[in-house]
Amino acid sequence: MNQEWRELTQGNKDSFVRLYDAYYKPLFHYGLKIRQDRELIKDCLHMLFCELWEKRDSLPAEIQHPKFYLFTWLKRIILKNLPKEESGIESITEVLIEDSIEAQQIEIEQLIETHRKLETALAKLTRKQRRFIQLRFFENKSYEEISQLENASVRTVYNVIYESLKSLKGSFLYQLLLIFIFSK
């Protein structure tokens, strides 16, 4: 990560893309923890990486923890772009009551680690299982909707998802437990 960062500040496009691919998912998840609004978070991530690339020359080449830098930067963009009518005192205080830097860093580390593991776990599923998990959870479709989309019986959809979850659970549940204990 530190090397990628250094290369980014020297204008290396490949390093930028590697950073993007490595951190997009945990950043996305982190954003949703601040505010449960997918479209807003996607816009904010877009701004983050646009700014990152545009300001690459003026970024410090040596940062101790570039990834925390990215997460904090994202948080700032989100807070700036919250809908005006909703960024009232209530929601602001909610975000301002922050854990210590260390606790935040642990949370971020674990988010990154969880997504790395999720990726590995998903990779172990068959293509069909992965697609069904995508539809059911990432896209929040019902069994009935998936059954129509994939031309399979509801029972089949259920079975495929059940087996996929079993496999996912085996891969990384311990990790999951940890991270969510930290993040309430």
Partner: protein, 338 residues
């Protein structure tokens, strides 16, 4: 909801149960109540419930493949990265699709009416800050929208767009001509509002000509799919077809078009078909940066094509083919009966 006996439920069992997922996501009140009661009655199962809930939330807060692809494409487009170079292998299919979906939309041209009184549609979004861009005469203005879409705004045309696309659709307002390369985003359709038509796309490339002074609005589709709406009427056209809207008759017609000719239109060729003085004058003013005053007393129906001619050559052409004498005075187009 399934009956849970004394045997502890397994995580995969819980998550496969839709009612449990509804409980985790808080999407159904009855399910929430059921599971809250269940957890209260089975305190020993709390750890397993927590595990299952965590997995559901993790899965919900992970971007889907579609979202990842859209976001990546949008970013690289905005930054002007070479697609081939930075695209992962799985993305190359998307880019091929993008290229295929290049669609060309041509609305437009000339009118017998001084359609100036036609009102510009109100934009249905308050609480948004909007940017307005007007391309100068004889120039094409290149605009990059915040979603990564590119717009080549033709001379004399106006585009209004929000600083950030916050709503469920990406809505922009156009008066005049523009070529759009819309970045793909299935969850946020792109809508172009013109004085007469609304054009709805998911992500593709097209050309709009929609000056209010024009008699016809045209939508020509090369690849992909586009939906054109006018009040309660809606048309979907297939590649190779052009949808022509006649403002005078308020009628639509679909026909085949010639791709080469369509390309010339994009590059700025003017095609007049029984065009009025207002239509011809307005178009020439945009193309050549001259001034023009509409005059309802001038009754002409000019047909012809103008591509790379100088303004003098165009005036000569008008003199030959109409009952009027045209000339430029202080950079203003004047017409007098012969």
């Amino acid at each position: 909801m399934q009956e849970k006996g004394n045997t502890p439920p397994r995580v995969e069992e819980l998550i496969s149960d839709s009612s449990f997922v509804n409980y985790c996501l808080g999407t159904n009140e009855a399910d929430c109540t059921f599971w809250q009661t269940w957890v209260a009655e089975n305190p020993a199962q709390r750890p397993i419930i927590a595990e299952a809930k965590n997995l559901v939330i993790l899965l919900r807060d992970t971007p889907s493949e579609g979202e990842l692809t859209d976001a990546r494409e949008r970013l690289f487009r905005t930054l002007g990265f070479d697609k081939q170079k930075v695209g992962k292998t799985k993305l190359s299919a998307v880019y091929r699709w993008m290229a295929a979906a290049a669609l060309l939309l041509c609305c437009g041209i000339a009118s017998l009416y001084i359609a100036r009184q036609a009102e510009v549609k109100p934009i249905p979004m308050a609480a948004q800050s909007w940017i307005k861009k007007l391309a100068p005469a004889g120039k094409i203005m290149h605009i990059r929208l915040t979603d990564g879409s590119l717009v080549d705004l033709a001379a004399g045309s106006t585009l209004r767009y929000p600083t950030l696309f916050k709503d469920s659709a990406r809505v922009v307002a156009l008066e005049g001509d523009a070529k759009f390369a819309v970045s793909h985003n299935t969850s946020k359709p792109f809508v172009i509002q013109t004085a007469d038509l609304d054009i709805r796309v998911l992500g593709t490339t097209f050309h709009v000509q929609s000056f209010q002074t024009d008699r016809y609005a045209r939508v020509a589709l090369f690849e992909g799919r586009v939906q054109v709406e006018k009040e309660d009427r809606s048309y979907v056209i297939v590649p190779g077809q052009v949808l022509v809207y006649d403002k005078q008759k308020s009628s639509f017609e679909t026909m085949q078009f010639d791709p080469e000719e369509e390309q010339k239109r994009i590059e700025g060729m003017l095609i007049f078909n029984n065009a009025s003085y207002a239509e011809v004058g307005q178009r020439l003013a945009h193309k050549y940066g001259i001034k023009f005053m509409p005059d309802p007393n001038i009754d002409m129906a000019f047909s012809g094509r103008i591509s790379n001619e100088s303004v003098e050559e165009v005036i000569e052409k008008l003199n030959f083919t109409t009952a009027y004498h045209f000339y430029l005075k202080s950079n203003t187009l004047i017409a007098k009966r012969k």
